[in-house]
């Protein structure tokens, strides 16, 4: 975040160009808003006319003239009610429409970014891009932003009216307000720093408040309630102090605008009278000026708040723009993409290398060809690159160098809709949506009816487990599926993949939390169900490798061994070693 940032205006311009709905008809909206603001100056003008028409004169009151100007003013006020209403309806409608579009396109863009799956800890931040950041922009455009425009408009109108009435008194008012304007810059930057601290302390506070909730079991079983409470107390109190400090600055700004207004009034009275005696201006003008000073103090009071809101909103907008301008690294060629042939699918890696941005290669020189219908097991220690291999094979990531081909077609040229119909990866984390079991299974095949779902469960040998669920398909799985155990979640994901019926299935330790018997029963059933499909299975339980047609062994980011189980055991290399330790465990007691 240390690189130079775009200025506020540039961010706003860029943001508006991304949401054209906001600027559609913006000219008319602004015009209407300015007309409404200008109308506010009518009252001091009427006051002046009325006073000069004899309200306070010695020579009798011209009632008719006063009634006439009052009536005209009343009509003007009614008219600006209409323009005010119209401008507000327009601004609310256009900004909400534009921001809904922005929200949705940002959401879609997040799904197209590989950081979402690579860096799970950034997810919270990505959620705020499409929620609080957009809310912040909307808040700004509809309130502070509008207020900024109308305030500036109001001050300009007041200034023009003042200048027309008396340039000398205008100068007096300006002299009173210029120091305030200068002070506001200082207040605004102090406020911006104060709010930065408030925001940082909120983030800290939310993190520690989550501990007794998300980590309830650990806190309880280790008896660290006191330590946790101390951390929370500290964060909550820091947040409190920062809030009060920010509040102090706001209150100070508010107050200083009032005292400046008072000084301006006093100056207008003194200098106005003196000028009046010189016949430079009328008595009505002096009184009208005091009304006009009021049009200055309001905006000055709001200014710091508006500036703070503007800074927040610009920061939010900048973040959303940066998100949208981050190129989608795994791009969907869409309908222009090549279609995969139906039926058997083979895969080929051509000189593939992968590294995370700025990092060393985690996978290199991968040259391998997987014929259709082959069942391949991928083996290696943690960090050997086997999961990266799986992600490249299913295009959850793109290689840094080289090509992945499916039945001869470059995988990056295949439309996502088509690709996902043919290729499926089942990840280790058995994530489920907060819905019923049935709805989650249907994620694999939307059109499946209940009977098909139950059949799929039974087909994987899970009928016993299913019978133990009191509410069957209607069983709610909870947030992230956490009402089920880790193993049960993986079973659901497995059934879901069977329903999806892919041509190439990639299992990435998809059964790591399931007991061996159930695991074998389910994966074998899956093999049967998907008989004749190509499958790639990553597992640290080497039973998978023993059963596979072919074993690929990864070590330190390279494909080091390739052959059948028997061949590799005979080879006496990495695989033989891994397998020996596996057998040693499995056969510890004979």
């Amino acid at each position: 975040m240390s690189e130079p940032r775009d200025g506020g205006l540039k961010v706003i311009r860029r943001g508006l160009s991304m949401s054209p709905s906001i600027t559609e008809g913006l000219g008319l909206t602004m015009l209407l808003a300015l007309v409404s603001t200008a109308g506010g100056a009518i009252v001091p003008l009427v006051v002046r006319r009325a006073i000069d028409d004899g309200l306070a004169g010695g020579g009798g009151v011209d009632t008719d003239a006063i009634i006439r100007s009052v009536s005209i003013a009343a009509v003007v006020i009614l008219a600006i009610m209409v323009t005010g209403w119209w401008s507000k309806v327009r601004i609310f409608t256009s900004t909400e429409r534009g921001l809904a579009e922005l929200r949705i396109s940002a959401f879609r863009h997040v799904h197209d970014l590989s950081t979402l799956t690579q860096n799970t800890q950034r997810r919270g931040a990505l959620v705020s891009r499409v929620t609080s950041d957009v809310d912040q922009i909307s808040q700004f455009l509809q309130f502070a932003g509008m207020m900024m425009i109308t305030s500036v408009g109001q001050m300009l109108v007041a200034l023009v009216v003042m200048a027309a009435l008396s340039w000398q008194l205008t100068l007096v008012v300006l002299v009173a307000f210029v120091p305030l304007a200068l002070a506001l810059r200082f207040f605004a930057s102090a406020m911006s720093r104060a709010y930065d601290r408030v925001r940082a302390s909120i983030a800290d506070m939310l993190a520690v408040i989550a501990e007794p909730v998300v980590g309830a079991a650990v806190v309880r079983s280790y008896g660290v309630e006191e330590r946790t409470q101390e951390r929370i107390d500290q964060a909550v109190r820091t947040n409190y102090r920062n809030n009060v400090r920010a509040q102090t600055i706001t209150a100070g700004t508010f107050g200083s605008a009032i005292i400046v207004g008072g000084i301006a009034n006093a100056a207008v009275l003194g200098i106005g009278l003196w000028l009046g005696m010189l016949d430079q201006l009328t008595m009505g003008t002096v009184v009208a000026f005091i009304f006009l000073v009021g049009l200055f103090t309001g905006p000055a009071q709001q200014a710091t708040q508006v500036i703070a809101d503007a800074q927040n909103a610009i920061a939010s907008w900048r973040r959303v723009i940066e998100l949208l301008e981050t190129p989608a690294d795994v791009v969907d060629p869409g309908s222009s993409g090549t279609r995969l042939p139906d039926g058997d699918l083979d895969a080929r890696f051509v000189q593939v290398e992968f590294s995370y941005p700025g990092g060393p290669p985690v996978l290199r020189d991968i040259e391998v060809s997987i014929p259709a219908r082959q069942r391949v097991a991928v083996v290696g220690e943690t960090g050997s690159g086997k999961t990266t291999f799986a992600k490249l094979l299913t295009r959850l990531m793109d290689p840094t160098r080289g090509q992945v081909l499916l039945s001869g077609v470059d995988i990056s040229q295949v439309g996502f809709a088509d690709l996902r119909r043919h290729v499926l990866m089942v990840p280790q984390e058995g994530f489920l949506f907060d819905a019923t079991l049935g709805e989650n299974l249907r994620y694999g095949r939307f059109e499946a009816d209940d009977e098909e779902l139950v059949q799929a469960i039974a087909a994987l040998g899970l009928a016993d487990w299913y019978a133990g669920l009191p509410r069957g398909l209607d069983t709610p799985v909870g947030q992230r599926g956490e009402s089920l155990s880790a193993g049960e979640r993986q079973l659901v994901a497995l059934v879901r993949s069977a329903l999806a019926d892919p041509d190439l299935l990639v299992l990435d330790e998809a059964t790591s939390a399931v007991d061996p018997q159930t695991e074998l029963r389910a994966t074998r059933a899956l093999d049967r169900l998907l008989a004749g499909r190509t499958s790639v299975t990553i597992a640290h339980r080497l039973s998978t490798a023993e059963n596979a047609d072919r074993v690929l062994v990864f070590d330190g980011g390279r494909l080091v061994e390739d052959g059948t189980h028997a061949e590799l055991v005979a080879l006496g290399g990495v695989y033989a070693r891994l397998h020996a330790s596996w057998v040693a465990q499995a056969s510890l007691d004979g």
């Binding site: 006073i51 959401f107 799956t117 209150a251 009021g294 694999g444 155990s485 018997q517 330790s581």
Partner: protein, 607 residues
């Protein structure tokens, strides 16, 4: 969220009852911060009265300075100085009033929020785990954050609104002193302002509530969709997810536009009303002056009053607008604070040192929400001091539940858990947590340093930490972290892999030198040989008498092989028990689980 549904649909709620409950919430806050609140109100009264005084000064100056000066063609000096001083003094007092009110009012609000946050989180730490299991984490986090703020945000505009009452009374008073007829205009326009504001809030209330709850929906969909990104992506559901998100976003958009439409109608009306009042005052005032009933200063003063009073009157609308949020927020916060579910600890300490004996007798357990489905029934076994016992069973057989029962995270419906013959319910919390350590299936790490995550609230010397890290094969990767033991973990720190996290969690348990170690499939993300090295070292120490008693949930035969006894769980009951060899000999179901891989290998060999 769903639990709150009845209260979210406030549209059907009787508005009067809602207002009464809202005042009740305000009463609670005032009783908690009486002095600071009183200070805020007094300063707000000062502001209100001085605002009226400002208009009075203008009227006074018109009559006593401006008019005579223009009439005589000479500045009325004495009056002018008085006028100038009055203007500045009134502004000064107004400034003091507004700064003080905002500060004191802010302090009241932030204190109420701070104190309730502390109350709610203390309650989270005190409520038993079974309570936590019944409440989704998202809901609890929002109780401690958004709901607490929603409850008290009414205190932001409240002092101002109370000051406005004084201001209006003073305004009416000065008007009455100026001219009775013009006062009548005030008596019409001011109440009208109130009414318009109240009607506005009543119209807007349900719309704002709807928008607020839709904002929650938008956030929930985004959270879930990004959390499940890998599943969404691998199933190619990005388009469907975007459509799902678009549906809630568009509902939110429509709700916000509906809020905006109401605002668009009322804002101009509320702005125009005082201006129309000024015009009325001038029109009527002209005739009053013509008939000699009023002085010009009176008219100017009353007109000015209308312009200064209009803004503050809006604060009543803000108070009314905050009431529904306050009532809902308070209801949610109270539901946490008033929950008296508790799991009292005993007072006994557990004498001695070294491994303890664990006895489990007649344990029954059913999920509180599903009392008909037994999770565990009549479970009975022992772990003699210094021994290793493994629990084996198929997925969903109740193993994890058993680990929470033996460490007393949850109490059983029937039966007993004893350490060295003492029921766990009799033990003090300190005795309990210093005796047993649980390493759970899913790893939780604090947003803190590696060191803090291991030592927690203990004082553990550096060399001891490193020796534990060596035991769990974590010393090398920890040493390679940018700041070693002091590396910050979590959202704004370094992220560790699943296997690394599990090893830190293991180190945390071992560093406390527990007398009973319970591991619930706690090594699932480790490579088999790493796991083997760790477990073997552990078993050796138990054997030599320096280690804890161990209860381990496991699938891997090598792990099970380290155990002195194996408990075989099936459908919540102990189906069999004995050494691994014994069970293999006599239980076909047991063989099917633990020998699954061997059976598979044999089949391969015979193919």
């Amino acid at each position: 969220m769903s639990a709150d549904a009845p209260l979210d649909s406030l549209g059907s709620d009787d508005t009067r009852r809602l207002t009464r409950r809202g005042f009740g919430v305000m009463g609670v806050g005032i009783r908690r911060e009486p002095w600071m609140f009183a200070l805020a109100v007094v300063l707000s009264l000062l502001f209100g009265v001085m605002t009226v005084a400002d208009a009075w000064v203008l009227g006074w100056a018109t009559d006593h300075v401006i008019t005579p000066s223009f009439a005589d063609g000479e500045v009325a000096r004495g009056g002018l100085y008085t006028g100038i001083i009055l203007f500045i003094v009134a502004a000064l007092l107004r400034m003091i009033g507004v700064i003080g009110r905002r500060l004191a009012g802010g302090v009241v609000f932030y204190r109420l929020v701070r104190d309730d946050r502390l109350r709610v989180t203390r309650q989270y730490l005190q409520l038993p785990l079974r309570w936590h299991h019944r409440h989704p984490a998202g809901q609890l986090l929002s109780n401690a954050n958004a709901d607490v703020e929603a409850t008290w945000s009414v205190f932001m505009p409240l002092p101002m609104a109370l000051g406005v009452i004084a201001m209006l009374l003073a305004a009416i008073g000065t008007m009455a002193a100026a001219d009775p007829v013009l006062t009548l205009i005030g008596l019409v326009v001011f109440p009208l302002l109130f009414v318009v504001n109240a009607v506005y809030q009543r119209w807007q209330g349900p719309r704002l509530a709807l928008a607020q709850s839709l904002r929650g929906d938008v956030s929930a969909v985004a959270h879930e969709s990004f959390d499940g990104a890998l599943v969404v992506k691998s199933l190619g559901r990005e388009g469907d997810e975007t459509a799902r998100f678009a549906r809630v976003s568009e509902r939110l958009r429509d709700a916000n536009v509906a809020v905006g439409r109401v605002r668009a109608v009322f804002d101009p009306v509320i702005e125009a009303l005082p201006n129309l009042g000024v015009l009325l005052v001038i029109g009527v005032g002209a005739q009053r002056i013509a008939s000699g009933a009023a002085a010009p200063g009176d008219v100017v003063q009353v007109a000015f009053l209308f312009t200064v009073v209009a803004m503050p009157v809006r604060s009543f609308g803000w108070v009314l607008g905050e009431l529904p949020r306050a009532v809902i927020g308070w209801h949610r916060v109270r539901r946490v604070l008033d929950d008296d579910d508790h799991m009292p600890y005993g007072e006994r300490a557990l004498p001695g040192s070294g491994a303890v004996r664990l006895d489990v007798t007649g344990l029954d357990y059913a999920h509180p929400d599903e009392p008909d489905t037994t999770v565990l029934r009549d479970v009975e076994f022992s772990v003699p001091a210094g021994r290793v016992v493994a629990v084996v069973g198929s997925t969903g057989s109740g193993k994890s539940t058993l680990t929470s029962l033996v460490t007393r995270l949850v109490d059983a419906d029937a039966g007993a858990v004893r350490y060295d013959g003492v029921r766990v319910q009799e033990l003090s919390q300190a005795a309990l947590t210093s005796t047993a350590a649980l390493v759970a299936q899913s790893t939780f790490l604090f947003d803190d340093t590696v060191r803090a995550n291991i030592v927690l609230d203990r004082e553990i010397p550096e060399d001891r930490i490193w020796s534990v890290l060596r035991d769990v094969q974590a010393d090398r990767f920890v040493a390679d972290l940018p700041q070693g033991l002091d590396t910050q973990l979590g959202e704004r720190g370094t992220s560790l892999s699943g296997g690394q996290r599990q090893r830190i969690a293991l180190a945390r348990a071992l560093a406390r030198e527990p007398r009973l170690l319970v591991m619930d499939d706690a090594t699932s993300a480790l490579d088999p040989d790493v796991e083997q090295r760790i477990l073997r070292a552990l078993a050796e120490r138990s054997e030599s008498g320096s280690g804890p008693s161990v209860l381990v949930v496991a699938y891997r035969k090598a792990t099970i092989g380290l155990a002195d006894e194996v408990i075989f769980l099936a459908n919540g009951k102990i189906a069999d028990r004995g050494t691994h060899a014994e069970l293999r000999d006599r239980s076909r179901a047991y063989r099917n689980i633990v020998d699954a891989y061997d059976q598979a290998r044999e089949e391969v060999d015979h193919e």
